[in-house]
């Protein structure tokens, strides 16, 4: 039983495969950035890579259980340092982790960890000897740290879930524009690196600092467009948990997951986990850049929920994650022998707290039975769960619910907002016992 059906196909998602696009002219604008990037030790930008790799042709298609068509996506192996991934967008890459990957291990392998970039000017080469991480702004001593400098600092390791703000957007009804993810815009890894606090202390944060802003090496194709930068409050930045990772599951990061350095903000949505982190700027006033003030904002309501069409809602930057749980060994429309015990399992996350319990219901939420929890890798990690079920003949709705250590659980009704953020409804699978 695989959660999603794999089907052979000879078709590509995109309409044709012309090798030369008239849009190329516009790409030339990006060239002026090349010299800057080379100074940083970067050989070029992916857009300028001359040879076009084979697109995801003649491969498998996966059918995602989204709220509406199109539900089929190519399964691609065309991305560097990546295995089999669901192709949501080729450029800039949006690659989704197939659900069955979460069934195999509590940690998501690097080569199947999901990928999400905002801008297409992604350096495709990073020289670790010349790379420098800047620390500047409202500090006593601005720093330019090499990878070696960071490797010599006290080291920490943390298991943490990285989840896109828009994970599961493809289930939103009414539908909203954006990456049409199923549940695979998330992953769990052991992150190794240094505390952000230690780096900030080395620079010496001046009195009056209020936020810390993070920027990576990626840049917009159009120079006028807003560069992707994110900020967190100074106390959060110095909490001793936010870290700068140079390793993921014991290896250096895949380039598409942010090599050589990535900010880790445990318990918070991935938008803050800046990839290819190259610049840390301590601010003495709140960051009002587009990516904080406009993009990635949510209604300041329970579950970030509003009625479609509702206006005049106070918006705040998206922040901490909330509890979620998933089935990983069964899929919608699975069938089972009636009156026969079978094993159901999956994963859960508590959000910014640990998982307290995971429960299942096979009667539309009227009664719930607890699942057994797997090994605890810390409050920010996925937690595996497993239980046995026996179903009577007929149709059943299987539901799974996680409650975290703060007593927060998942709602019975799905939330809705214009951006498709923060889905955490109790997930339901329709199955049949025969």
């Amino acid at each position: 039983m695989t959660p999603y059906k794999l089907e052979p196909s000879g078709e590509s998602t995109a309409a044709s495969n012309a090798s030369h696009s008239p849009a190329r002219a516009a790409l030339v604008r990006a060239r002026s950035r090349r010299s800057v990037l080379q100074q940083l030790g970067l050989a070029g930008v992916s857009l300028l890579a001359a040879p076009a790799l084979a697109p995801a042709l003649a491969g498998e298609l996966v059918t995602l259980p989204l709220a509406s068509d199109p539900r089929e996506r190519p399964v691609t192996r065309d991305f560097p340092q990546k295995g089999s991934m669901i192709l949501q967008r080729t450029r800039p890459p949006l690659l989704e982790t197939p659900m069955e990957v979460f069934d195999r291990s509590v940690f998501t392998p690097n080569d199947q960890f999901y990928v999400r970039w905002h801008w297409a000017a992604i350096p495709n080469s990073v020289d670790v000897n010349s790379f420098r991480l800047s620390v500047r702004g409202h500090v006593n001593v601005p720093l330019k740290l090499s990878i070696d400098d960071l490797l010599k600092m006290p080291r920490v390791e943390l298991a943490a879930v990285n989840q896109c703000s828009g994970n599961s957007r493809g289930f939103f009804l009414p539908r909203v524009a954006g990456a049409q993810w199923a549940h695979g815009a998330m992953g769990n890894a052991r992150w190794t690196g240094v505390r952000l606090k230690d780096v900030l202390d080395r620079a010496g944060v001046k009195a009056g600092a209020v936020q810390v802003r993070f920027d990576g090496l990626d840049e917009p194709v159009v120079p006028e467009a807003p560069d992707f930068k994110k900020s967190i409050d100074i106390d959060h930045a110095r909490d001793g948990e936010v870290m700068i990772a140079f390793a993921m599951n014991g290896e250096q990061l895949p380039l598409l997951n942010g090599f050589p350095l990535r900010l880790i903000v445990p318990g918070w949505y991935s938008t803050y986990w800046v990839k290819m982190l190259s610049d840390i700027e301590v601010l003495d006033k709140p960051d009002d850049n587009f990516w904080m003030a406009v993009a990635y904002t949510i209604p300041d309501t329970l579950h970030a929920n509003i009625t479609p069409g509702q206006t005049g809602v106070k918006m705040v930057p998206i922040n901490r994650m909330v509890p979620r749980s998933f089935f990983t060994n069964i899929a919608e429309d699975s069938s089972f022998p009636a009156d026969t015990q079978f094993s159901v399992r999956g994963i859960a996350l508590g959000g910014d707290r640990g998982v307290a319990k995971v429960e299942l219901s096979s009667d539309d939420g009227k009664s719930w039975q607890p699942a057994m929890l797997g090994k605890d890798y810390g409050k920010y990690s996925f937690r595996q769960w497993e239980t046995n079920l026996t179903l009577t003949k007929g149709n059943h709705a299987l539901m799974v619910r996680c409650t975290n250590l703060a007593g927060e659980d998942q709602p019975l009704a799905p939330n809705w907002n214009n951006s498709g953020f923060m889905r955490n409804v109790i997930e339901t699978l329709r199955v049949v016992a025969v």
Binding site: S21, P22, R24, I147, D239
Partner: protein, 110 residues
């Protein structure tokens, strides 16, 4: 602040303090070069797709659009104007109607 670190260190075995042992286990960080798929496929439709092909593919590949659900015309108009005003897409005003028409004919909803 130090109290908080201590508390974390005690309550979970996962956030480790300084870990010299791990330094030997971690492989060296090596320079990396990759090539990314170009994603330069065009929208189909002949002349009808000229405007969208000429204006939209510099920043993103066509599959982003083709994977969207059916959306109302007003939503597509808003998307195109967001690309221009917010994300700086250099699109001529004269091309906007043809782009929106293409999106509505391909991905329109009532």
């Amino acid at each position: 602040m130090s109290r908080k670190i201590l508390a974390v260190g005690c309550s979970t075995a996962v956030l480790l303090a300084s870990m010299p042992a791990l330094a030997q286990q971690l492989p060296a960080i090596k320079s990396t070069s990759v090539e990314l798929p170009s994603g330069d496929s065009l929208f189909s439709g002949g002349a009808r797709s000229d405007s969208i092909n000429n204006n939209c593919l510099a920043c993103h590949s066509a599959d982003m659009v083709l994977n969207q659900p059916a959306l109302p015309r007003a939503t597509w108009e808003a998307e195109v104007h967001k690309m221009i005003k917010v994300y700086g897409a250099p699109i001529d005003d004269a091309d906007v109607p043809a782009i929106v028409d293409y999106l509505v004919s391909t991905k329109g909803a009532k």
